[in-house]
Every structure is written in structure tokens, then in C-alpha cells.
Point group: C2
Chain length 580, copies 2
């Protein structure tokens, strides 16, 4: 990882490829890398679809090594959805592959002539860019299948579906998984629209002939990795809950806590929760044979293996095991309790290249607008089909919940900075409300997962229904998360490292051994702080103020059943989150 | 004008009517009144369609008197289009009528149950509110016709069409004219959507039995009015240009100056300009008989009479004489050179209740997105028809240019603060660019009409193609305009009072004689400044920063033919506009 691949899609004679040394960006990875490049190189007030925006794809610091859990990748740009800086994080194979090929980042800049579409092929011999008009408006599944035919069944793909080509605000970027399926997504913030605006349909990554990145201190690295893996296996969440039921283990937990947003955030418990819970999902998947549930990592090197495979009624592959947030977004938030319908929606989102959270939130807003009844799964499927077809209605929905609310005159639209809230109601989980409100990313649970401490009892305990302690909790988690998102580690390691000091030490040792330094906890905190500060500065320069660090008024006014609570963290307290 | 009518549409038992003394708002009128009430009573971060927003309708300070030109009315609220404070100004009959009935403002607050629609009837005996479900989704023409049948052919109507009921961002509020037609509109900023969110279809105003408001010093008032009228008749613009050709006299002027935005602001001259100019329009209208062009005021008491009537090919009434901005928006900006098509679009906008500027700008963005060819008048008509039908496509377009650009992934969208630019390219008329960028209203020519000095040689002369002097010009005009918009006077008086000291003195004398004070020029300036400061404070509290006081980047990057200029006023200079 000693070079940056820089591609100018707007060169006078077509795309121009450059490979550069790391320069100022040396030592950075993942979110630290993407946010540094975006903050330094993208004009904060530019149009997100303009030539001035840049799409940055960066493996984490430890990606490409043999460290467990290190295969996450960051995508950065100015977001078409929020208008602010964006880091969207994904699993899949390309992170490890790009890292092994030596690329610390791909920076795609400029803009080709309208309607030109390209593919980029990266292997140990270099980089090629070729016209790809034959891929126009293909779904991610067909796109990856074509790449597999052309380049072999070992390559990794980074691709967009029709949503990205249409430059929709909910468009994702797909990263292919171990089965070469486009099931892992940098979903949030419309990063797929930026890739679409650059005219890039797919990046094919082939690391044949490359080997794992070598640590400076191999023995220490190996020992640290062992301790790290042992720690993950030891913790109840990463060792038992997630492997057994996947992320969807949360449905019953959050629903019982009264924080499960139902029917467009109108109450905190869903009567159909048990039917779409992780337990029900596992039972259903097991009954259909195949691999069953929860046996699967999203990338090589994963030891938590919270993913799985969803087969349809006939035992045919339909999609990966839908994640908790997807099951909620297309399920409870729309009043839908049918796992097959939810899995179909997950498949369509993955194929069209759409963020499942944004799409579920959007369908619920459309239901509130009267376009369909809550609970009508067939109507929900038909609405998402419209997006794939690119109809006017589809383009509204594909632009996300904020635009859909505007077009249909809906007042109750659960967004912050234009991005939909995920699967935790901020009234019943006030810590996550602080994160939604204040993160640089727009409403985002992964930016500071206060649910862990508010509900799951991880990293201490803070009453989820009260404002006290939430700011400090969210602040510390946001700092830690910004650091973890820079390592290439899966965020789920946080459960173990928050509760087990020796597992956190093992992570420090892993990084230290790889780089031949002595990393301290303070170094990690400082890294997280520096990433957040840079992102905040970009957003301020783009025009964001503390007025953007707020939940919509109705969360402060409408009590949420069953606890009948409103969001009670004061504006003054929210303004203190970034006082560090 | 000694009372405020306050209607809470969200009362537990239905709408509640209250009449209040003026209190803190005594002495205010028009924009000073609407902005004072909105700034004091509306939470700046509220959702514009929520119960917390208020719709304020206020006649000007001199409305209801016998002063010439005093029949303008202001509509204020938090704008659904810009998210900031809004004052949208209209002609028509209701201003004089409300003033004679004694109402300095109507404040509509709260929100009824969904799908409830009401009409409000105001006469000398008081105020009634009645269900009006029979008017649902009627156009403004049919709505006013029904009110005429019910309440007589002398009443004034303030109404919304289907666009307002659908709560679209481009929805206007119509004010009926002397012929009881809904042709004058508070067009900008989506004020019709706020009226729609309050469940108010139409306000019927009947001033039968009321007489003109009496000045404190009748002799001085009469003399001042005479001098004022003489001054208006003496000035070339208000005495000749506007009466002869209406506002559309500007088409040839602005086109020759190279500042006529053509095909979605892609060049500054339109090859078909002569065919849609005021001169061509007058000839066409005269050839069709009837009243011909330019014989008409938009309200009783107008002596400029820049309006007229447009008859179709068969000699039947189609619409009022389309204004310059409308002819541009639906004409040159869409490459359309057919006056009959433009008049049809004007009629449809008036009937559906849509801002013609926003709609023309939106259709041009849709054309840039490939939904139709530039110049295709039939396609433009069909697109606006979609809005009236309330299809998904129609709702996108009716939400305005910014949303349309987002949904269709268009980068070149000529908006500031979410509101479309009017009919002057800010590259070739840099003073109006300063106004577009910095006014509290979103891109708006009427907020500080620097075109007067940049192009028309009124109020001095400042080179339109250079940045020098534009900030001071725009600042002074914005201050003066805020004051004029508070008097109830038509903004066109500015041409005469800028150039003729004695006409400005006559205006001061008119107000002084009415109130029994001695008003000075400084008082007027201070009034304007206080209005602007209050509006700026509201916008800042709503989250606006100097980053919102900018034109889209492409105006600084793409040179405009034929002068090949870019917008060159620096950000630092823009930040100085409100240094007073």
C-alpha cells in the first residue's frame, strides 16, 4: 500500500491514469484516507455530481494483511444525499485485493462526456480503462457475472447498478463477496451516484500473483492476531449472538426495548417483529437447506461470520442473509412481516444498487404519503421495481426519503442532513439520537453506535430513555469509530474491545506489530479525533451549522409508544458533542 | 387597519377565529409586517408544512387609501422552497379590500386534520370559516368563478389551485384582479403549499360598505398623490415603456444586452427573442381585438397600467398579458418562441396555482435532463399538464428546479437557496447576481433590481459585466426595496423615485400626510434595513450561512456568450452586502 491510483475521467483524450506516491497521505487508511483526500482536494461548495467532486476508495490500514476482520473498505466523496463529506463503509473482497496490489487509495476525478460508460481493470500488471457501453443499465448481478466471464471467477468487483447510472441519491456502490456476488455495499450517502457521474460502471480487481502484506514484526503480529481472535470468540455478541443469528438478532432485542421504529417512526414496537426476527430468519433459512444461516463472513479473514445466505421457497439462491437494518427498513418500518418479501427487496436493492436503509425509510414515507398501505409487501416490491425501471416515480423514490417527502408534501420525514435514520428510534435510544444528530455523515448508526451501551449493556450502561450521559457516550463512540473505520477492521470488533481490555490491547499490538511502532490508546483516540475534526471542517465550509445537528422537530414533540418519550437531549448539549 | 385576524386551523373543535389589536406590530405593513410576524412567531427550524409555520397575509401601509399604486400585498411564512423566511408580493384586488376592512394582517396558524379543506369569508360583519370539500383540486379559475356565484361579482379572492393542495414547492397563491380572475400571484417560494398545508382553499374578501382609509392630513395627501402620479407619468419607464408594452418591453432590451438566459442559462441571447418581445406581443394582442395590450392595472389605483389581456386565436380570453419573466421562463429559457404557447403555459400556471418563474426554470432543467427538446412548446405544455394532473412526474416538476435537478441528476441547476433564478443572467448583469446570491429570499430579481442601473440606466450607471460597484448597488436597492415592499406600493415606482428626487419626496409626503408624521429619507432607509436584518436573523437561526449566499459554481466557471463573461464578484464582496 505504497501508492495512490489517480484516474481523471475528464481528460481531453479520454480517461487518464496516474500512479502516485502517498505523499501527505502516507500512513492513512480507510476513513482517515478518504476523508483526508476529500477534505484537501474537493471544494466544499461544489455540486456533488460535478467534475470537481472526487470519489475515493481506500482499503483500511490493515487490509491485505492476515489480520482477522481487516477487509473493510471506505468510500469517500462529497455526498449527493447530504451535501457534506461522506465515508461509506463496506465489506466484500476488493479491500484485501486492492491492498495486496499495493493501492492505498483509488481517486476518481473529473467527468467524462455525458453517457460515456467505462470499466476499470486493475491487476498486478497495471491499470486499464475500457468503454463499457454494453453494461449500460445492467443490474449489479449481471454486471458481476459478465466480469466473471471475462476476467475469471477470482476477481473482485466494485460496481454500480442502474441507480448509480441514474445518479440517484440512494445509489450505492456494490463490492462483491467471496461467492463473487454483489451483496456488500457502501450504501449510504449516494456514493453510487458519484461513481455514476464519473461514468464508471465497474472496477475489476484481480490480485492474482500478489501475497499478503507483511508485518514489520511477524511474531508479535501473529500472537496479537491470535489474542484478538480469541477475544472476539469470547465475547457474547461477537462469539455467539452475531454468528448464530446474524445482525438480525437485534430485532427482538430492539423491539422489546421499545425502540424499533414502526410504520415510519410512528411507534416503537412492531406486532410482527417475531415473524421477521433473527431467530425466525434462522429457522426459515435452515428449513430451506443450503448453507443455512450465519455461517458466512462478508470477506475473507472474517471470524465473526454474521452473514449467511437466503434461499427462496424453491431452495434457489435469492440474496445474502438480509441484515438487521434491511429487515427493519423494508420490514417493521413499513409494517411488513414477511421475510420472503423482505429478502426480495434486499435482492432488488443489491441488484439496482440502492441503500437498503434509505430505500426502506423512503417506502415508509411514500406509505405515509398514501402511495401504499403500511404492511402491503407487494406494493413495496412494486415501488422498488419503479426505481429499477427508472420511471418518474422510481426516480423520486431512488432520490431518498428527504426528496420523497418534499415531492409528496410529507412532514414526518426521519432524516438528518438529508439522510434517513436507521433502525433505532432516537426517542427510545437517546444516545443513538445524539449520533444521528451530530455525526458528520447524516443520520447514521454506525458513526457512534450508542445502542451498544444504551440497550446491549456493552461498554457500560446508560439509560436509553433519558438525556443524561448520552452526549459523552456518543462523543466517545464517534471518536473510536472514526479510528476503527480507518483500520479496515469490521466495526463489530467494537463490542469485544469495549468490554475486554485485553482485546483492545491485541488490536493495538496488531497495528503496532504491522508498522513496527508502539501504538497507544491515546494514539487511536487522537486518530479518531483528527478524522472527525477534518470532516467537521469540510461540512462547515460546505455551509453546515449547528442547525444541521438537530433531529426533525417531531421527535421532540411526538411521544413514542410504548415508553411515551420524546427526544430530550438539549440543543446546547448537542452542540457540545464536538468539544474536544 | 387597526387589527390582526388570527385563525388557528388546528383548534380541537375546528378552526378558531380571533381578532387582535396590533400590539407590537402597530405601524407595520406589507413585508415589514409579514417578516416581523414570521420572525417573532415561527420557529426557524420548523418544517415549513408543520403546524408551527404561519401564513401571514398583509396589505401595505398605504393599501386601502386613495394613494396611487398602493394595492400590493405581502405573503409571508417559512418557505417550503428555500427553508428560509419568505415574503412573496402580489397585485390584485384583495390588498385594498382587506385594508378597507381594517385588517393589517391575516395570520393563519396550526393545521387541521389531513384532507380537510376550508374557505374563509371576510366582510364588514366579520369572519366565517366553512368546509370547502366541494372545491377540492379545482383550478383557481373555477374556484374564483364559484365564489363569484356565491358571494357576488365584487368580491376579491385569495386562493390556491391543485399545486397548493398538493403542497408543491412551486405552488403560488392567487389574488383575483379587477375582472375577478385569478391572474395575480404571490408566486415565489411555495407560499401556496403553506396555505395548502393549513387546509385553506380560498379566502373571499368582500369590502362592500367600507370606504377608503382616511389620511390625517387630507390636503397634503391629495397634493402629494398628484405630484406622485405626475412623477410616474413623467418617467420614461413608468410613463411610456411599461404602459405601452408591459413588462415584456424588456425582452429585446435584455437580449441585446446579452443577459437573456437561453436554454437553461447556457447562453445570453435567444435567436427567437424578437418573436416573443413586448413589441411582438402588443402587435399580436392588438390584432386579436379586445382590449389589446397594456391598458390595464393589476389593481384599482394603478396608474402605470403595465398589464393587459391575452386573447387566443379565436378572440377568446386566455390569460392576462404574460409578464416579461413568464415570457422568458416559458419562452427563451426553454428555447420556445411561440407566444400562444407561452400564454397557454401562463394560463395553466395561474389555474394550477404555480409560480411561472419556477416552472419555466424547472421545465428548462427537465429539458437539460432529456425529458424534452429545447424549443418543443408542445412538450412543455404537456409537462405542465402533468403537474395539474398530480402525476409523479408532475409532482417532481411542481416541486421546482432544485428538486427536479436532484431527481434527474442534473448539475446545471440555476438556483440560490433552492429558488430558481429569474430572467437575467447574473454573468452579464452582475449586479443582479449579487442580489440573487445574497437576498434573504433565494434567487429573486425583485429583491434588489440592479438591472435598473446595470442595463436600463436608471439610478445611475454601473457596468453590468464587471464586479466593481455591484455590491453597493445591490445593497442600496435591497434596502430600498424592503421599504417599498412594506408600503403596499408597486415596486415599479422605484424607476421614478430613483431618478426623480421630487417623486421620492412625493412618496415621503404621501406616507407622512397619511400618518400625520414627518417621514424622512433616513426613516425609509432605516425601515428597509430593519426588515432585512430581521429576515437575515431568521435565516441564520434556520441554519443559513454565507455559503448559502453564493451562486452555483458553474456561473463562476462557464463563460456566457456573447460577452464570454463569468460571474466575478468575489465571495468576500458578497459577504459585505449586509454590512450596514
Amino acid at each position: 500500500m505504497d501508492k495512490i491510483l489517480r484516474i481523471n475521467m475528464g481528460g481531453p483524450g479520454g480517461p487518464e491514469i496516474k500512479t502516485e506516491p502517498l505523499g501527505d497521505y502516507a500512513g492513512l487508511g480507510g476513513r482517515a484516507m478518504t476523508s483526508a483526500i476529500v477534505a484537501k482536494e474537493v471544494p466544499p461548495t461544489c455540486h456533488p455530481l460535478s467534475a470537481a467532486n472526487k470519489l475515493v476508495i481506500a482499503p483500511g490500514m490493515l487490509s491485505g494483511t492476515t489480520a482477522a476482520m481487516s477487509g473493510r473498505i471506505s468510500v469517500g466523496c462529497k455526498s449527493p444525499l447530504t451535501g457534506g463529506i461522506k465515508e461509506s463503509n463496506s465489506g466484500g473482497q476488493p479491500s484485501q485485493m486492492l491492498a495486496r496490489l499495493g493501492y492505498a487509495a483509488i481517486v476518481i476525478e473529473g467527468k467524462p462526456e455525458a453517457d460515456k460508460l467505462y470499466k476499470i481493470i486493475i491487476n498486478k500488471d497495471g491499470v486499464k480503462i475500457e468503454p463499457a457501453d454494453d453494461l449500460k443499465m445492467l443490474g449489479n448481478y449481471d454486471t458481476v457475472a459478465k466480469m466473471s466471464q471475462l476476467y475469471g471467477n477470482k476477481v473482485g468487483c466494485i460496481s454500480i447498478g442502474p441507480a448509480g447510472e441514474m445518479k440517484l441519491g440512494a445509489a450505492s456502490i456494490a463490492f462483491s463477496d467471496m461467492e463473487q456476488r454483489p451483496t456488500r455495499h457502501a450504501g449510504r450517502g449516494g456514493v453510487g451516484a458519484v461513481m455514476g457521474s464519473k461514468g464508471v460502471k465497474v472496477i475489476v480487481v484481480d490480485d492474482a500473483g500478489c501475497s499478503a502484506r507483511q508485518p514489520k514484526d511477524p511474531d508479535k503480529f501473529r500472537d496479537a492476531n491470535k489474542a484478538f481472535v480469541a477475544g472476539l470468540r469470547n465475547h457474547a455478541v461477537t462469539g455467539q449472538g452475531l454468528p448464530a443469528y446474524g445482525t438480525n438478532v437485534l430485532t427482538n432485542v430492539i423491539n422489546e426495548a421499545g425502540g424499533y421504529p414502526t410504520n415510519n417512526f410512528s411507534r416503537g414496537q412492531f406486532e410482527g417483529a417475531a415473524k421477521i426476527s433473527g431467530e425466525a430468519q434462522a429457522e426459515l433459512e435452515n428449513s430451506r437447506g443450503g448453507e443455512g444461516s450465519a455461517t458466512h463472513g462478508c470477506h475473507r479473514g472474517c471470524v465473526i461470520r454474521c452473514s449467511g445466505t437466503f434461499y427462496d421457497k424453491n431452495g434457489n439462491y435469492l440474496t445474502k442473509q438480509p441484515e438487521y437494518e434491511t429487515v427493519w427498513a423494508h420490514g417493521g418500518n413499513c409494517g411488513i412481516d414477511d421475510l420472503d418479501a423482505i429478502a426480495m427487496l434486499d435482492r432488488m436493492d443489491d441488484d439496482f444498487g440502492l441503500d437498503t436503509i434509505e430505500m426502506g425509510a423512503t417506502i415508509a414515507v411514500a406509505m405515509e404519503a398514501g402511495l401504499a398501505e403500511f404492511g402491503d409487501a407487494e406494493a413495496a416490491i412494486n415501488l422498488v421495481k419503479e426505481v429499477g425501471k427508472g420511471t418518474a416515480l422510481g426516480k423520486i423514490l431512488g432520490s431518498g426519503a428527504a426528496v420523497t417527502g418534499k415531492v409528496f408534501g410529507v412532514e414526518r420525514v426521519p432524516v438528518v442532513k438529508g439522510q434517513s435514520m436507521p433502525a433505532y428510534d432516537p426517542r427510545a435510544v437517546q444516545g443513538i439520537g445524539v449520533t444521528y444528530a451530530t455525526t458528520t455523515m447524516g443520520a447514521d448508526h454506525t458513526a457512534g453506535y450508542a445502542v451498544a451501551t444504551n440497550i446491549l449493556g456493552v461498554g457500560g450502561s446508560v439509560d436509553p430513555l433519558k438525556p443524561e450521559g448520552q452526549v459523552e457516550l456518543s462523543r466517545n463512540l464517534q471518536i473510536a469509530t472514526a479510528a476503527i473505520d480507518s483500520t479496515g477492521m469490521c466495526l463489530f470488533i467494537a463490542f469485544a474491545i469495549l468490554d475486554q481490555a485485553e482485546t483492545f490491547q491485541a488490536l493495538l499490538d496488531l497495528i503496532s506489530a504491522f508498522n513496527g511502532q508502539e501504538l497507544t490508546a491515546d494514539d487511536v483516540t487522537n486518530l479518531g479525533k483528527s478524522v472527525l475534526k477534518r470532516e467537521r471542517e469540510f461540512n462547515a465550509a460546505a455551509g453546515f451549522t449547528n442547525k444541521d445537528d438537530r433531529l426533525p422537530d417531531y421527535f421532540k414533540q411526538e411521544p413514542l409508544a410504548p415508553h411515551n418519550v420524546t427526544f430530550a437531549v438539549s440543543d446546547e448539549d448537542l452542540d457540545n458533542v464536538f468539544n474536544f
